[in-house]
Symmetry: C2
Subunit: 257 residues, 2 copies
């Protein structure tokens, strides 16, 4: 048996999330179908973590053990010809049999994109959350910076989270506002890209952080409320869960790959 580790990009629009569900087609289903079509094996892949319905990935990572003797450099092409156009396997390497894509993940980086221009961008509309009312992005970034560090993020986790510990480390978090598409003399505010790198993320964590920061941007909350919300360990103190379509899992880092 060999253990293969792969990087996959997907546009999540048409999927019921990454992980196999009782209802709907998931990215995992499609990947496992492609592997079965290639090798005949009915197997379960292990991803670095699940992504929610409608969430995208640039560099999701998964592994699986196979008895196939297909050389590792042939796998990407062989799987891609068996996958729909919104899922692309970009890299494949052989790893030690002990490697586990979820347990071995050391850091993940997510991107959340808010289009704060008056009209949607027709070309990026599937990966941008559109928000037209006035946003104070400086206050949003100030609020975001309060979350960098090691904390119990219970306030920013789904109430359905079953994790034994909600302590996570956010290593870095920053915003980039792209105003290149703004029309002069309009209320266009640009496209706000928020990058978050952490040791791991709880269910809905990035989306709840973003929903809360949007309330800061709108003036409903202050940047200084963020540490208070964090310390409360109370989900109801944070803002709503922002829409999944704006979220992309950019990369997963491993110390031993």
């Amino acid at each position: 048996m060999r253990n293969l580790c792969m990087k996959v990009s997907y546009e999540g629009t048409n999927y019921n999330g990454f992980q196999t569900q009782p209802d709907g087609i998931t990215v995992q289903d499609r990947l496992e179908q492609a592997i079965k079509s290639l090798t005949g094996e009915e197997l379960k892949i292990i991803a670095s973590g699940r992504t929610d319905s409608g969430v995208h990935a640039y560099g999701q990572v998964f592994n699986f053990t196979t008895s196939s003797i297909i050389p590792v450099e042939r796998w990407c092409m062989a799987l891609n010809t068996r996958l729909p156009q919104d899922i692309i396997v970009r890299d494949a390497i052989e790893v030690p049999l002990s490697f586990h894509a979820r347990r071995a993940a050391k850091r993940k980086t997510y991107l959340y994109t808010i289009n704060a221009n008056q009209f949607i961008d027709v070309f990026q509309r599937r990966t941008q959350y559109h928000h037209t009312s006035r946003l104070n992005t400086a206050a949003m970034e100030e609020g975001l910076k309060h979350l960098i560090g090691t904390y119990d993020f219970s306030s920013f986790a789904s109430k359905n989270s079953t994790k034994p510990s909600h302590i996570r480390t956010l290593y870095d978090a920053y915003m980039v506002v792209d105003q290149s598409m703004c029309r002069p003399n309009t209320r266009d505010q640009g496209v706000i890209h928020t990058y978050l790198t952490g040791s791991g993320f709880l269910q809905h964590m990035v989306r709840i952080i973003m929903g809360t920061l949007l309330e800061v941007g709108e003036g409903k909350k202050n940047a200084d409320d963020i540490p208070i919300i964090l310390n409360s360990l109370d989900r109801s103190k944070a803002g709503p869960t922002a829409e999944g379509k704006g979220l992309t899992l950019c990369s997963v880092e491993y110390s031993d790959l």
Copy 2:
């Protein structure tokens, strides 16, 4: 009556081109339906030019005369609520009654995008032509430069062209190769963006130029063949018509707007 001029973005994937056709739904159909829904008027809009099936636009321009008294600043929002998500009217101004979006157009800029990486980009796949075999981009750009100037572009026009003259001026043309998405130690060559600005473009002109440059990139033709092809005034000497999905009409310029 007032003459209104608007800028529109569209992702052309789901349309049978811009201009109304006997078969299939076009962008023009959708815009005229939205206007009818808003004002009750059955009218024909005038665009800067047609775009082919599957071709996109960032800043297509059109105009029409209306007896509606809706203030000009309300039109974008009012039309966008009546348009599908892949068509967005981004600007509306009132212009003199004599203004005609096709006749008054002075310059147009097109972008053709070739993804020359091994695998498609799932997020940009609808607007990129995917080409994996080795391309000599320096030779392609050298060939492209031969086309800058005022020439009879008959070799680069559809045989179906009914224009009385095929003389056009290409003011500027250049390539930008984005290698930010290239994976190390692979055959990834980057994403090649080709910008062309001209006085006007004949039917299929950008796509035939790109199809010919792709043959230069593949080594089937030389950069120095381009002036020979141009001088031949013979469509059959040029390369094939490149796929429409890679083409975007970026902007249309008017001297008097």
